[in-house]
Subunit: 219 residues, 2 copies
DNA sequence: ATACTTTTGTTGCTTTTGCAACATGTATTT
DNA sequence: AAATACATGTTGCAAAAGCAACAAAAGTAT
């Protein structure tokens, strides 16, 4: 129903006929945007992948979200007054559409420009996907311990790829920031899972974004 | 921008002219709905408040969400294959609109019925509010310890009411389920916060949904 | 008023997680 | 090839959180 195919290439060939929408490219590792209150920015990730990163007032890092093709992000979707610094960092080379979200009729052109017509049509699907992603994230964060967070996340990746073998979209260091746990405690738990035969790890050479292959055995 | 007032009474006087939409009343404590895969149900809470509750395979309870007026919920917004039981329970007497979400043009009437016209128009605002709520929830769940979860949540309630004095929408037992922590550990932390002067607690007699008033002193 | 249920409040003990430090291994840069 | 930076892997110890059990208070039903 909420089929990726429906929107997979929708905004891809977008040409900035509307003055209110801009398309930018970002190279791996660069800063895509920061969340600044009251600017109402919204973005669509056209290609590549990125992390939504938070630093709290103590400097603690958390990877709040893992952004992929067709995901929407931006400060307009995020609560204000959190006293945190949030920014989006490219994990791979990325293409991004960005614009100011006021409402769905913020195009001044008559008739509406191509982008705003398409956006208005696809907005429900984009939002529904985003909502399911956020609820999936909440499912993960509400697991009671590190082991269940790991297995829960591996289960998501496994289901998504329809295979018990898959690659992590994070380094292990970043996985700990994503699961919101201490890295060394997570490594300890990974060792236990390996000993008990729940996972196998294989290191892959020269892969820029992924560093492990997990062969997960779920019950 | 995403103003509650805009939609505050929009669906309130809805009359079921469309055969695909139904309005139901639920008394306090009753079951509003369960999340069953592939039914694509979506609901709007017209009045009252409710909890979205999850029981995992081990019987662990978590309050996934706290639903209030104009909030949307339903299995169509939630990931499938979680091996969990999810249901929505009325905290107060509730009125709920429910329908099947296929897409935004699932009304067979020509011209579209009043509900679907209004829903289509208000859908973006409903979804944006929902997204901000979910991101607020993620902010809370990614706090590193019980103390910060408590203070973070009190800060949200305080900001929402524009007052340092506010009531909890949960019993303390349910607050622990909501913050996803052990109740006794949470009580211990609440005692510390009280000793250190961060909060004051006052019990209120005969209040059905709230049991405490907290006078929170933030730095 | 009494019995019963639910919620609050507390504590000792155990388990889990976090912290700090460091060794090793793998990429990247010069 | 050497130097540097970053990621993985491991450990001892400390701190935090979970578990179990129970008492007291408040709310509800009879």
């Amino acid at each position: 129903m909420l089929n990726d195919v429906e929107i997979s290439n929708f905004f891809e060939n977008f040409n900035s006929s509307c003055s209110k929408v801009s398309k930018h490219s970002f190279s791996k590792g660069s800063l895509i945007t920061t969340y600044i209150e009251k600017r109402n920015q919204m973005c669509i990730l056209l290609s590549g992948s990125a992390n939504l990163i938070r630093y709290d007032f103590n400097g603690n890092k958390t990877i709040i979200g893992d952004l992929n093709k067709n995901d929407i992000f931006g400060e307009v979707l995020y609560p204000t007054n959190t006293n945190n610094e949030l920014f989006v960092e490219a994990k791979e080379d990325c293409e991004v559409l960005s614009f100011i979200y006021d409402n769905l009729v913020n195009c001044r052109d008559i008739p509406k420009c191509k982008f705003h017509r398409e956006f208005e049509e696809k907005f429900p699907i984009l939002m529904m996907n985003n909502t399911i992603n956020l609820n999936t994230r909440i499912e993960l964060l509400t697991k009671k311990n590190i082991r269940d967070k790991l297995l829960g996340y591996f289960n998501i990746l496994s289901t998504r790829k329809l295979s018990k073998t898959f690659m992590l979209p994070f380094t292990l260091t970043d996985l700990a920031y994503y699961l919101n746990v201490d890295r060394s405690a997570m490594m300890r738990e990974l060792s236990h899972l390996k000993e008990e035969g729940f996972i196998q790890k294989k290191r892959k050479k020269n892969n820029p974004t992924c560093c492990l292959i997990c062969r997960v055995i779920f019950n």
